[in-house]
């Protein structure tokens, strides 16, 4: 098979069978199997994080400056069950997690982790979704144009941007934007930092900088992959057949070239989500975005175990679900793939 397919898919899909695929039934079965498989994965993630968090030196109640009295210190441990042996705490925590109760945050007495995450999740999601759309639009179009107009200035510009993008860390991009906008340009654009209170039009203006910072690296990554897969597709025989049929250029490019070259792009959507998540931690810290990325860093520093675990589980579940969606989408996009 001449077409270059991206990195082999995650375990469950290898090897391909080229038999006619009874899609409906096997797909449902496959999704169920993957969802069931997610539970042990999440449990494993919880276990690792739980013990790592508890190994970290210092307790949630240690603080600088005025110390808590010994009595208060002990009362707090009793209330949050930290006085029990670590294994009992773990079992107790697993019990509550199975009822979707992720406990209460030490940093915010009176608020459950569920409500805290629910409160700050929209900002991470809004930023992540906006960046994802920007990344797909800009990354793919850049890659396709570079491939179609190969060895033109557009191609060199796209490849150049892709390589530089892959090298400049996103917090550097963030810093440069801050230096430029806060010192020099703010007079004109008044583009201040991410302030979710601005209401609709102002919100978009404020999201420019964080979204740009979050998207810069993935756009480069995506453009590079789209370009090479489109170049491969252009070299295939069926494109020549399409031309020979007298189809218009637009039809040839969209229906024949892109329909094939964008398949590998779907496979890298998985690592793209992971990059967005790690990126959100950095961007939220640089731009003071009240999302769960930033609260994760604060939770670690404050040894807020329920918050650390809650955020990690959310992120891990998110990655697992998104990867499943990618794999299922892959089946619908590439008819040759048949589910194990």
């Amino acid at each position: 098979m001449a077409l270059v397919r991206g990195a082999p898919l995650r375990g469950a899909l290898i090897p391909f069978r080229r038999r006619t695929s009874g899609r409906g039934w096997t797909l449902g079965f496959y999704i169920a199997r993957r969802l069931v498989w997610m539970i042990p994965v999440l449990l494993f993630v919880i276990a690792i994080t739980f013990f790592l968090a508890h190994i970290a030196p210092g307790s949630p109640w240690d603080k600088e400056g005025r110390q808590l009295s010994a009595a208060t210190y002990n009362d707090l441990n009793v209330r949050y069950g930290l006085d029990k042996p670590i294994w009992t705490q773990f079992v107790f925590y697993l019990g509550s997690v199975l009822h979707f109760d992720f406990g209460t945050s030490y940093q915010h007495p009176g608020q459950s982790v569920n409500s805290l995450i629910a409160a700050s999740w929209p900002y991470t999601f809004k930023l992540g979704a906006a960046s994802f759309i920007v990344i797909l639009l800009v990354g793919v179009s850049l890659g396709v144009i570079a491939a179609l107009r190969q060895n033109s200035i557009v191609d060199y510009a796209a490849v150049g941007l892709a390589t530089i993008g892959a090298s400049v860390p996103n917090f550097v991009v963030g810093i440069v934007l801050i230096i430029l906008l806060s010192n020099y340009l703010y007079k004109f654009t008044n583009a201040t930092f991410f302030l979710p209170t601005g209401g609709y039009p102002q919100d978009l203006l404020h999201m420019i900088m964080p979204v740009a910072t979050l998207s810069f690296l993935p756009i480069a990554f995506l453009a590079r992959i789209t370009r090479s897969s489109t170049l491969d597709a252009l070299r295939q025989d069926f494109v020549r057949t399409a031309w020979a049929k007298g189809l218009r250029e637009r039809v040839v490019v969209v229906r024949h070239v892109l329909k094939n070259s964008l398949i590998p792009v779907v496979t890298i959507a998985g690592p793209l989500f992971a990059a967005l998540i790690t990126g959100s931690v950095i961007v939220e810290t640089v731009f003071q975005v009240p999302g769960i990325g930033r609260s994760y860093v604060q939770a670690i520093d404050a040894r807020d175990y329920p918050m650390i675990l809650g955020t990690t589980v959310l992120y891990a579940a998110l990655v697992a679900v998104l990867n499943l969606i990618v794999d299922v989408a892959y089946v619908f996009i590439d008819p040759r793939v048949r589910l194990e």
Partner: protein, 557 residues
């Protein structure tokens, strides 16, 4: 850009310096008011709770002070206390029974009258072990407080024991506190924001979370509905991790005059650089100046320098060699060039300190600090006379919190000073804030820091208690009978001259024995927009004017 809480300095105006001069009069003094009277400030970190009994940090106090009204509050010049929710108070002949007369007709934000029983319930929550209030130690002077607070949270007899506390509502307007023993400083304890009244029915209505925390004070979007308060302002909006908005409380009928500012937005920007950038882009009305931008603003008309009542020092672990030897500690203290640190490193934003009590407080005695003054020659001599071998001084680890840029800079500065002046190579051992606090608390270190103290109130008792044997706030494992006796005498004495003499002996012992090497007292650099008028601030403000918000006005701009 530090993550998490840093040592947020508690500021105090020094006696003669900035007294009440800057406090503006009412709108009548020729200030044309802007159409919107809104103030936007940065408190740096999201408060853990609005429930007074669950707060401890300065930025939490700044919110609660405007939403609740405690019995008393510090005067504008921070020298004494003035009435707040209580119009007046009397002390009986034994000096142990304080009777507070509440302001007639004061109302809660939901229209209910403020009753003495609300204060009784509020103070009981501060001592109830099940709630583990962080500031409970301040109220241990109340009768039976130590006994109740020390009980096991699961003890069934707890509710009955709480009734035995020296707290009584004589009638709806009279709240009486009985102490274990007379305490000259108790008026200041009554001025703390944590002593605000709390409505029992509101707490019960909102119930508890799965870990037993009362939900009424939670910093959540639901706060405007759950928090019922008696202060000048109500909580109108909470956007977690971003800001809290307060609006003037229409039903307020307490003693304070009506505020001109009707809306205060408190942002939670933990990065000083970002806050400074927002000040410049017009999104904040005041902001602190990052150390790096000192030169840029030194001559700016918007600059306000407010000396803070905070002193920072380096900790020695007196229970482990080589710092069990007083001479070695003294040698290290004498080898640190405090003036260069204040002038060059902090660019003049600090005053060097070689004694415990900061400048601007009653017992400020720089003359007693001669033992620790910087002198490389005497430092070397003292080290030599200590008889400690060179090998015992090698490989000493200096532990510090490397998340906060200020303590990182101090660590590197101390390392260089000790290297040049004593020829000893300290190994820097940085870690995050929690680990650092634990190391200090469990004496699992040799030398480290910086630790510091900010005045909760300008009374020496608040300071000298730190180094008393067995005090939770001392990380040096230091015990000195002469110091303990002098401090206890100072705390108990009623007459000021007797207290000063006692505290003087305590200060001398502290400086001489040097369980810590004193470093500096910070000066806060603030930038305030020119259109912010009538600002009257005390050194304990988290943002300037947060004690007396009703004097602030926004001029036309």
């Amino acid at each position: 850009m530090q993550v998490g809480n840093r040592i947020r300095a508690i500021a105090l105006v020094s006696a003669g310096l900035f007294a009440a001069a800057a406090c503006g009069g009412t709108s009548g003094n020729g200030v044309t008011l802007a159409s919107t009277q809104e103030l936007r400030v940065n408190i740096g970190t999201e408060p853990a709770s609005f429930d007074p009994s669950q707060t401890q940090w300065v930025y939490e106090a700044a919110v609660d002070r405007n939403v609740f009204e405690a019995l008393l509050k510090p005067s504008k010049d921070f020298k004494t206390v003035v009435p707040d929710a209580a119009d007046s108070y009397t002390i009986d002949s034994t000096g142990t029974v304080y009777t507070f007369k509440l302001h007639q007709g004061a109302k809660w934000s939901d229209g209910q009258p403020v009753k003495a029983a609300d204060f009784v319930y509020g103070w009981q929550r501060l001592l109830d072990p099940r709630l583990a209030a962080p500031y409970s130690s301040f109220y241990l002077s109340v009768k039976n407080a130590a006994k109740v607070n020390g009980m096991d949270p699961k003890d069934s007899g707890l509710d009955a024991a709480i009734q035995t506390l020296g707290l009584k509502a004589v009638d709806d307007n009279t709240f009486q506190v009985t102490l274990e023993a007379p305490a000259g400083y108790f008026k200041w304890v009554a001025s703390l924001w944590t002593g605000a009244p709390v409505r029992q029915d509101v707490v019960v209505k909102n119930g508890k979370d799965s870990s037993g925390n009362d939900k009424w004070g939670a910093v959540a979007a639901s706060a405007p509905q759950t928090v019922v308060s008696n202060g000048l302002y109500n909580i109108s909006e909470v956007v977690p991790k971003d800001h809290v908005t307060l609006t003037a409380n229409p039903k307020y009928s307490g003693a304070s005059p009506k505020p001109t500012i009707n809306k205060i937005t408190l942002f939670e920007i933990d990065d000083e650089t970002v806050a400074y950038a927002k000040y410049k882009s017009g999104e904040l009305d005041m902001a602190t100046v990052p150390l790096a931008d000192t030169e840029a603003v030194r001559s700016s008309p918007e600059l306000l320098q407010v000396p803070e009542l905070t002193v920072f020092w380096v900790d020695f672990n007196t229970t482990k060699a080589p710092f069990d030897n007083a001479k070695v500690r003294l040698a290290f203290a004498q080898a640190i060039d405090r003036d260069s640190y204040a002038k060059d490193v902090l660019k003049g934003r600090a005053i060097s300190a070689s004694t415990l009590i900061p400048k601007g407080m009653r017992n400020y005695r720089p003359d007693l600090g001669t033992a620790q003054t910087f002198n490389p020659a005497t430092a070397k001599a003292t080290l030599a006379s200590s008889g400690v071998s060179q090998s015992a001084l090698t490989g000493l680890k200096y532990t510090y919190n490397s998340n906060s840029p200020t303590s990182k800079t101090i660590a590197e500065f101390i390392q260089a000073q000790i290297k040049t002046n004593l020829g000893i190579n300290l190994v820097l051992d940085g870690t995050d804030s929690k680990t650092q606090s634990k190391r200090l608390r469990t004496l699992n270190y040799t030398i480290g820091g910086p630790s510091g103290w900010g005045a909760d109130y300008p009374d020496s008792q608040d300071w000298f208690d730190i180094f008393v044997t067995g005090s939770g706030n001392q990380f040096n494992g230091w015990s000195n009978k002469a110091y303990d006796d002098a401090t206890n005498a100072g705390d108990a004495a009623a007459d000021d001259t007797k207290r000063d003499a006692a505290y003087e002996t305590a200060e001398k012992a502290l400086v001489q024995e040097a369980p810590v090497a004193f470093l500096d007292q910070r000066i806060a650099w603030w930038l305030v927009k020119p259109y912010v008028k009538g600002l009257s601030y005390t050194p304990n403000d988290d943002w300037l004017g947060d004690f007396y918000t009703y004097t602030i006005q926004i001029a036309q701009h």
